[in-house]
């Protein structure tokens, strides 16, 4: 792995996105719009908006980066550029780390936009600072990116890739505790939720946006997210084959 090739890969991915102005606009505007929508759907129930909307600010980048990365990597596989790269002096880790840098940067922009709208304009509270929510959002985006890289290996078409989103992300959103407290779920579902990475991502955000002291639980949550992301990246590296049938 070399810094030069990793940086070149990150720059290349950013160049690709820079040419796609509409994607950039959608990336920045859509989460903000959804948050505004949620605010008015829950009009008159600011308590519920705070409970759902505040953690949601840190979850948007997770969902979006999952989708964007899985499609980008699928394209790399189907257009032959991945095979081409595999014949060049480029380590698999250069490619994966390059993706992480580029999408991490995009996630930071997206998180900044949604946090400004949520915490500065819509009156959400972040007792430990909106910056903490932003940092957690970037960590979650990298988790989404890692899972997206991994599942792209199991999609042959873009139709399949987009459907991995409802298949893999929605169940995690339902079980993570965002809509219903995990302790109020059926024991089996609660048990399953312990095994899902988004549970820890949500838990960290819930702590960061509530008044309770942070403590070591937040660190453990972040650690769990990091382990899940690194695990997914390691598995994704195994799916990048120099030789194929």
């Amino acid at each position: 792995m070399t810094v030069r090739v990793t940086a070149a890969t990150a720059q290349r991915v950013l160049w690709q996105i820079r040419h796609d102005k509409r994607t950039i606009a959608l990336l920045l505007v859509v989460p903000c719009f959804l948050l505004v929508l949620l605010r008015y759907v829950l009009d008159g129930r600011p308590h519920v908006f705070q409970e759902i909307g505040a953690p949601l600010c840190g979850l948007f980048p997770f969902i979006v980066m999952f989708l964007v990365t899985s499609i980008t990597m699928l394209r790399e596989r189907t257009t032959g550029t991945l095979e081409r790269l595999m014949t060049l002096p480029l380590a698999k880790l250069d490619l994966l780390a390059g993706y992480a840098l580029a999408f991490g940067l995009l996630a930071a922009l997206q998180a900044a936009a949604v946090c400004v709208v949520g915490f500065a304009l819509l009156g959400l509270h972040a007792p430990h600072g909106a910056a903490l929510v932003g940092v957690l959002a970037i960590a979650n985006a990298l988790l989404g990116m890692a899972l997206g890289l991994l599942v792209s290996a199991f999609a042959q078409t873009e139709f399949q890739a987009v459907q991995f989103m409802p298949a893999l992300i929605f169940p995690q959103l339902l079980l993570c505790g965002l809509f219903v407290a995990r302790s109020a779920m059926a024991p089996l579902l609660e048990a399953v939720s312990w095994a899902l990475p988004l549970t820890y991502a949500y838990d960290a955000l819930a702590r960061a946006t509530s008044g309770a002291p942070l403590g070591s639980a937040l660190l453990l949550d972040v650690l769990a997210v990091a382990v899940a992301a690194l695990g997914a990246i390691a598995l994704a590296a195994l799916t990048l084959r120099r030789r194929t049938a």
Partner: protein, 246 residues
């Protein structure tokens, strides 16, 4: 230069449960332009994939520049200013459609450590010096293929494996490319160039004739003409096929 850049022995490849290369053995001499000719679907691309080491093989050996095909040492440059070892251009252009021509080249240049001057040089060599700012996806198929070719030239590879690089090109441009291939060979580069058009056989120093996953003959254009008594290389190929089936 003497010796072989590529040595293939009894190579067998199975794809989708079907054997597509049946015990192919051949040598590609170093420093020459070798044409790999045969109809579509005869196994040219699979053979090239095996040579650059991206194809899973069922049997046999492939040695490239003295190393097993796909050896990590073939991907890395030897020493600070050494050449890249193997360059591969796939039939479908493997470049990023959502980058400009220059951005594509700059990315590949960063990987193989080629200078900005080298980028300008290869773009001129493939006749795209005036298209650098254009999005690659908006180019014609032939132009995209040349972006792909240019990116493979960046690292001055010792061996260039080109899968149908001249398909669909303007005849003038095609002639220019063949001139460039020979100029590269004169500098010591080994080229393996596939084509399904027999006209192009005349441009090669050496010929490998393939059909149905088998190597029919390893020859030169002149030897093929002499042996078959046919001046036209297309007809000569036909008589080789007829002789093989007899």
């Amino acid at each position: 230069m003497v010796g072989n850049a590529i040595e293939v022995e009894e190579l067998r490849v199975v794809r989708g449960g079907r054997e597509v290369l049946h015990e192919v053995s051949l040598d590609v001499p170093a420093g020459l332009v070798t044409g790999l000719l045969g109809p579509s679907g005869c196994g040219k691309t699979t053979l090239m994939r095996a040579i650059v080491g991206v194809q899973i093989v069922a049997g046999g050996t492939v040695r490239v520049l003295g190393l097993p095909a796909g050896d990590p040492a073939l991907r890395s440059r030897v020493g600070r200013h050494a050449r890249e070892r193997v360059g591969y251009v796939t039939q479908a252009p493997s470049v990023y459609g959502d980058l400009t021509v220059l951005e594509n080249l700059r990315y590949f240049a960063a990987i193989v450590e080629a200078s900005p001057d080298r980028v300008a040089e290869v773009l001129d060599a493939v006749g795209l010096g005036d298209r650098t700012g254009q999005l690659t996806g908006s180019l014609s198929g032939g132009q995209r293929a040349r972006v792909s070719l240019a990116s493979a030239l960046l690292g001055r590879p010792e061996l260039l494996v080109l899968d149908e690089p001249t398909v669909g090109l303007d005849p003038v441009l095609r002639a220019d490319l063949w001139k460039m291939f020979h100029a590269l060979a004169d500098e010591g580069t080994t080229l393996l160039v596939s084509s399904h058009v027999m006209d192009e056989a005349a441009e090669c120093d050496q010929l490998l004739l393939m059909r149905d996953g088998r190597l029919l003959e390893q020859t030169t254009p002149q030897a093929l003409r002499d042996r078959t008594g046919e001046d036209d290389l297309g007809r000569a190929f036909l008589s080789v096929i007829e002789a093989a089936e007899r």
